[in-house]
Symmetry: C2
Subunit: 196 residues, 2 copies
């Protein structure tokens, strides 16, 4: 049942598991994380937090020490929140590998088993593969684009998705062989000196 809106919820739950935080801070981290696209607004975040409060997934505490700064509302996860987070993270299925959701899941992969990780990575990969196939198929029907720019855009798009597929494959292999180190460009030997 995880709809699109649960994206923020999952992200907030995940971030709060790394430590209590107030809204403003949360927003910055969120933007850094999923903010490759557009920025999350307060009008989006605060209502989401209120909703999570109502659902007892998080609780607010106003720090009571000698304040030098403005009263900030610090949020932390409740036990119920932890449960919910685990539940969401163990979900395998479309919701886990759709564009937006995937990044969030991946970001918090440390909180799940390798088994789940593999399933999500593989799901994501075949999702992208399907997309590639569909485009290839439809491209044959549409008769190779006459327009230069259209063709270039198409080419670049395909290339990007193919790259992503390779990235996922490397991650899958790394998971399978129980490796720690994610691929990284190429560093067979720890490279003593590389002037940027």
């Amino acid at each position: 049942m995880a709809r699109r809106g649960d994206t923020i919820e999952l992200a907030v739950l995940g971030l709060l598991h790394e430590g209590p935080m107030h809204g403003y801070e949360l927003r910055k981290r969120l933007n850094l994380m999923l903010g490759w696209g557009r920025l999350l607004s307060y009008g989006s975040l605060y209502p989401a937090l209120k909703k999570m409060l109502r659902g007892n997934l998080i609780e607010e505490t106003v720090p009571s020490g000698p304040q030098t700064r403005r009263q900030r509302i610090v949020y932390q996860v409740t036990d119920l929140g932890t449960q919910e987070f685990s539940r969401l993270m163990s979900e395998v299925g479309p919701t886990a590998w759709e564009d937006d959701n995937f990044d969030i899941r991946f970001r918090f992969f440390s909180s799940t088993d390798m088994e789940i990780r593999l399933r999500v990575l593989e799901g994501r990969r075949s999702r992208l593969q399907e997309r590639l196939d569909r485009v290839q198929r439809e491209l044959m029907m549409t008769q190779a684009e006459a327009d230069r720019y259209a063709a270039e855009l198409q080419r670049h798009g395909v290339e990007s998705v193919e790259r992503e597929v390779r990235w996922l494959s490397e991650l899958i292999n790394a998971e399978r062989s129980g490796q720690q180190a994610p691929p990284g460009p190429e560093t067979p030997t720890p490279a003593p000196s590389t002037p940027s």
Copy 2:
């Protein structure tokens, strides 16, 4: 004043400039074009078409020949629609190089002057550069991520954007040198005979 919703409008206008089309067909092309992400639904397209009809940007014609298939409503651009398309395509500024809009502009670059193309490409590039800088800056403050997956996601994200910046730079160079051929893997010699 171009808001987000004008994205569909621009795309439809552009596609219809390549020939009259009915809604269903339009949707397929649209999905192929901007559909790297999620699919456009009918509930989105048809109301948009109605709105454009009301604005006299397009007009519908029901083909009257001996029908073998269901009556399809074929749309084509009006003169006003052509004007609007030109206007939108010559806009330079944030709306032209935001994530969603950029692809559409690029797709129809053939319909604009090199001057506009260059400005949009450069705008897009500095937009991405800013983003990169912001992440780099904030990354320094947050103290290199402790989490493996978080770090890998960060790395991959940065790499992707850097790739995109290089792509744009190549396109800008190609525009500047009045070249026809977009970078394409490797085609050094202009190949005197191009069959197609």
